[in-house]
């Protein structure tokens, strides 16, 4: 079984789920419009601790199923690209 290749920016940009996630980010942080696919969401403090919980729950809602406990680690949410790869990629 071959591991999937990293998603292209086009693939991420065309994802309706990622569009919803990015729109959600903008509602909680007006400066999120400048967030790129590889911006470090944690180091750049794009979200505070409470927003991070709500963000995780929103991702669950968008993907239609819970995120497994083993995947609730900072590196899985480090960037929008990581979020797409880990949770939203078909």
């Amino acid at each position: 079984m071959h591991p999937k290749s990293a998603p292209s920016e086009t693939e991420i940009e065309q994802s309706r789920e990622m569009a919803r996630v990015k729109a959600w980010l903008l509602t909680v942080n007006k400066e999120a419009g400048t967030v790129g696919w590889d911006t470090d969401l944690i180091a750049e403090r794009i979200l505070d601790s409470l927003q991070m919980v709500n963000f995780l729950l929103y991702i669950e809602e968008v993907r239609g199923r819970e995120i497994r406990e083993q995947m609730i680690r900072p590196e899985c949410f480090q960037s929008l690209r990581a979020i797409y790869e880990n949770f939203l990629r078909p």
Partner: protein, 299 residues
């Protein structure tokens, strides 16, 4: 940590008193509880006044059988949150025990670690026996402070906030005759032990803050406050778990969570749940403003 509480009884004496109380109150949790084979359905397993829908239209509109099911999952959620919270606090206390700066508190920490481990055990027992699971935690943990003094203060602040909010629920349920006896008992036993932990936690936090006030810039104190404020909200909002709503058969669980959190009745409940700990944090100057403001009572 400064040795006296502003000319009052030395801290060491206060710590020793709490240690003596822990020794006198020691019990075997593995023999204390009699676990029924199953718990009665068609009954509340959590006080209805504590349910996350209480005071909202959902409380009136949901049939009582559905509220019973919701209560069954909400108590599993509460005890799951408690178990996860204990893990986090144990990790931190284990890093501190018998290290520089904790010479006076380490003897007490042994009792704390033992008791908290046992609490985690009986919470997990309940969740697995009667819920078939422990709800996972949905919190990402990452370190915002590099300075060890600030990190320690934050950790002990989080521990105290978590304990005091949990105690609000324990005190409400320990004598609620509507609930099965095992649930009353778990809440009672936990409350008894936590009374000592919270007394200790308040002493530690107050003195840590006094030390920090004389050694770190105001900007750092405000950053600590912001972190603790956020943590308080995370704890309160963890009681609104979409997985619980889904398990209880309620529609649109994520939207339900948002709607409940936005309801004014829930804001009033949150203010009651944090009243004691928030009062302490305001009195000590750790908080400059409340996170959840109480309604002003009419005279």
């Amino acid at each position: 940590m400064s040795a006296t509480a502003g000319g009052q009884r030395p801290l060491k004496d206060l710590f020793q008193r709490l240690i003596d109380l822990s020794v006198d109150a020691y019990y075997n949790p593995y023999k204390t509880f009699v676990w029924p084979e199953e718990l009665p359905r068609g009954r509340y397993w959590m006080s209805p006044e504590l349910l996350s829908v209480h005071g909202t239209p959902w409380m009136e509109e949901l049939p009582e059988e559905r509220l019973h099911v919701l209560a069954q999952w909400e108590i599993v959620n509460f005890l799951s949150l408690s178990a996860h919270g204990i893990r986090e606090l144990l990790l931190h206390v284990l890093q501190c025990i018998h290290t520089p700066g904790f010479e006076d508190t380490s003897e007490y920490f042994h009792h704390f670690i033992g008791e908290e481990n046992e609490h985690m055990w009986f919470f997990a027992q309940f969740c697995r026996r009667y819920g078939g699971k422990i709800y996972p935690t949905k919190r990402l943990k990452f370190d915002r402070f590099e300075d060890p003094g600030l990190r320690n203060f934050l950790a002990f602040g989080q521990i105290l906030i978590f304990e005091e909010i949990g105690d609000f629920y324990n005190r409400s349920m320990e004598r609620d005759g509507r609930l099965p006896a095992i649930i009353q008992q778990i809440n009672h036993v936990h409350h008894e032990d936590e009374s000592r932990h919270m007394a200790m936690g308040r002493l530690i936090l107050k003195h840590m803050h006094e030390d920090l006030r004389s050694s770190v810039p105001e900007e750092s104190l405000r950053a600590l406050e912001a972190s603790l404020r956020g943590y308080m909200q995370v704890v309160i909002e963890a009681f609104y778990n979409p997985a619980v709503y889904a398990d209880a058969g309620l529609a649109e669980p994520y939207q339900l969570r948002r709607d409940l959190l936005a309801h004014p009745a829930r804001a009033r409940f949150h203010a009651r749940a944090v009243e004691r700990i928030q009062g302490f944090l305001l009195d000590t100057g750790i908080f400059k403003e409340p996170v959840y403001a109480s309604e002003e009572r009419a005279v």
